[in-house]
Amino acid sequence: MTWSGTFAGLKGTRLRLAIGLAVLLIALVRCDFLVSHHPAFGIDGTPGFAAWYGIVAAVVAIALATLWADIARRPETRTEEEERDG
């Protein structure tokens, strides 16, 4: 998938939603500076850790799924389709 294809249709409502969520995330990170943390591994107690880790995790998950789909996905045959819907 091309770079433009990756972000296909990112305009209008979708773009506004992405910006709104980003603003919300920034606000949450600011709040995270105000609460006391109980880290188990050090880094997980740093303010905003869940924000950047969530982005990295989601991107990696999507990349893994896309990669595996390229390798293992194949068109559904008519028989499989009928068996599935039947």
């Binding site: 995790a57 999507i62 194949r74 559904e76 068996e83």
Partner: protein, 557 residues
């Protein structure tokens, strides 16, 4: 303690299964709901203590109530009640009888007090669940499912037989350091959906009816988790196995097209969380695994109900064919969103309570790899369950959405019942922690935990919105490990036969008549080997006999 045996929770379900088979109409409806209700009452009233029975020189303990059995029994009975209400309009008497037998066996597994009783209920559970799939006319999928469970049963029985010398039939904690215990572990992991045999879950469950899949999603894999808690607490091998399950389930759920296949892969992923916790093995981790199994049964039932309602109303559960249904099915949309958000552990849902317990158990055990990986999978689970499913199935605008036929109000009642339970536990975590005291000290609704989880999910949601085009469903299926035994043998056989035929023709000089005969024989051989997927009844019986022979051989060794 005959009272314990007489008041075992599986009895009303066994009797109910028989009664449903011979009744019709309102009486059948009444029995199908009353039986699991009575089972729920018995889960909590069956007295402590174990009832023993002598059989063939062995002392069996068919019922041994303890805290773990009661928690799993409660979840199973609740799922059976909600499922029975959901299925009140199900016309197949065979399915309605089968699901009660299946539910009875699940109760039997978690209340079993010895290995042989456990095995017997294990096999009845396989029979009941296979009948649920057969009841929808999915004979080939049912046979594949039955064969996989027969394989798991063989491993389990061989392990039990081999372990009798060192501890009899007593339920006890094993460590995977002998052939016997490894066989038992492998047999249990087949039912848990562990790799490399995870594919049976996504192969079989979507082939059940709109109501049957609700029951299938609740019992088999969670009963396997209960058995792992009893037999392999703290088995370190389970941690990597569970982590692979969690990642595998997430990856497949992100790319599948059929809603119920997505949910089936999601079952494997979420059971992976439980398997990891069992592998950690501390009291908190085992309590967390129990709590997560309980909660998972709730939100997966709700999601399967929503998927079943869509299937029943529209005739399809494929995301590529769906969309634009939110207006015509607002309650189902709400149920799907709630179930998805609970799976993703949104605060104030039950999923947040149980996943907090698992993460705290990992943190206290300093299991860094597992903690970071499962946190990442939590973010990924929002992508497929909380966003991808509801968006592409219900919410996305569609000019010409598929027509949605009206569905009975009882289906909504069942979803409301399960949804209320998810929210009740989410708002009042003590409802769950009172059932599982081991997780009572877990910090759930604290500012840092809530903020952490919301940040994680909002971050994942941003990625979803940005990368929506990549996650769009495609009319395709994704190959899984079952390709190795479903497709590869036939393919290899076909090619080997073709090569053999060519070699014969090249090597054997003969008259034209002999060559012609060779060609006909070779074609018949290729046809026979290519069609090996369609087994005759006699061949299946032979395979079953061979499996039993292998059991005897292993036991003898």
């Amino acid at each position: 303690m005959a009272e314990t045996l007489l008041l075992a929770p599986f009895w009303p379900l066994v009797v109910g299964s028989l009664a449903v088979a011979f009744t019709r109409g309102a009486l059948q409806n009444l029995v199908s709901v009353a039986a699991p209700l009575l089972a729920l009452v018995l889960v909590w009233t069956v007295p402590e203590g174990s009832a023993t029975v002598s059989w063939l020189g062995m002392t069996l303990t068919p019922v041994a109530p303890d805290a773990t059995a009661r928690v799993f029994g409660t979840a199973f009975a609740f799922a059976a009640i909600a499922g029975a209400i959901f299925a009140l309009d199900q016309k197949s008497t065979a399915e309605r009888a089968a699901v009660l037998l299946y539910a009875a066996a699940a109760q039997g597994v978690v209340f079993a007090g010895d290995l042989l009783t456990l095995f017997v209920f294990w096999e009845v559970m396989a029979i009941g669940s296979t009948l649920v799939i057969f009841a929808n006319g999915a004979a080939r999928a049912g046979i594949r499912y039955a064969l996989m469970h027969a394989f798991g049963g063989v491993l389990l029985f061989a392990g039990i037989a081999a372990s009798m010398g060192s501890g009899g039939l007593a339920l006890r904690a094993f460590s995977a350091d002998s052939t016997a215990s490894l066989l038992i572990l492998a047999g249990v992991l087949v039912n848990a959906g562990a790799p490399p045999v995870s594919a049976w879950v996504a192969d079989a469950y979507p082939r059940a009816s709109w109501s049957g899949a609700v029951f299938l999603s609740a019992f088999t894999t969670k009963a396997a988790v209960a058995v792992l808690i009893r037999l392999f607490p703290g088995e370190s091998m389970l941690v990597p196995i569970g982590l692979v399950m969690a990642v595998y389930g997430m990856v497949y759920a992100l790319i599948e097209n059929d809603i119920r296949r997505v949910l089936s892969y999601s079952i494997v992923g979420q059971v992976g969380f439980m398997v990891v916790a069992v592998g950690i093995g501390t009291p908190l981790a085992l309590g967390a695994a129990t709590a997560h199994a309980f909660v998972h049964i709730l939100y997966k039932s709700l999601l399967m109900m929503a998927a079943g309602t869509v299937l029943r109303a529209t005739g399809t559960a494929r995301l590529t064919a769906l969309g634009g249904l939110a207006r015509s099915m607002p309650l189902v949309t709400a149920a799907m969103i709630l179930g998805g958000l609970a799976l993703a552990a949104l605060p104030l849902t039950a999923g947040f309570v149980s996943k907090s317990a698992i993460m705290q158990a990992l943190a206290e055990d300093k299991a860094a790899t597992a903690w970071f990986l499962l946190t990442a999978v939590s973010a990924g689970s929002l992508l497929y369950a909380g966003l991808r499913l509801p968006w592409f199935a219900m919410l996305r605008p569609k000019v010409d959405p598929v027509a949605a036929a009206p569905v009975p109000v009882t289906m909504f009642a069942a979803m409301a019942l399960v949804g209320a339970a998810i929210l009740a536990i989410g708002f009042v975590p003590s409802l769950l922690t009172s059932l599982v005291p081991a997780i009572a000290d877990v910090a759930v609704l604290t500012p840092d935990h809530i903020l952490f989880q919301i940040m994680l999910l909002v971050a994942a949601a941003i990625c979803f919105v940005m990368l929506l085009a990549i996650l769009a469903p495609r009319a395709a299926i994704t190959l899984d490990a079952d390709w190795l035994w479903r497709v590869a043998p036939a393919m290899i056989g076909h090619r080997a036969s073709a090569a053999w035929r060519a070699a014969r023709l090249a090597l054997i000089p003969a008259s034209d008549a002999a060559r012609q005969e060779n060609r006909l024989l070779a074609r018949a051989w290729v046809r026979m080997t290519s069609d090996a997927g369609n087994w005759r009844t006699g061949d299946i019986a032979l395979a079953a006999t061979a499996l039993l022979g292998i059991v005897l051989l292993i036991a003898a060794l």
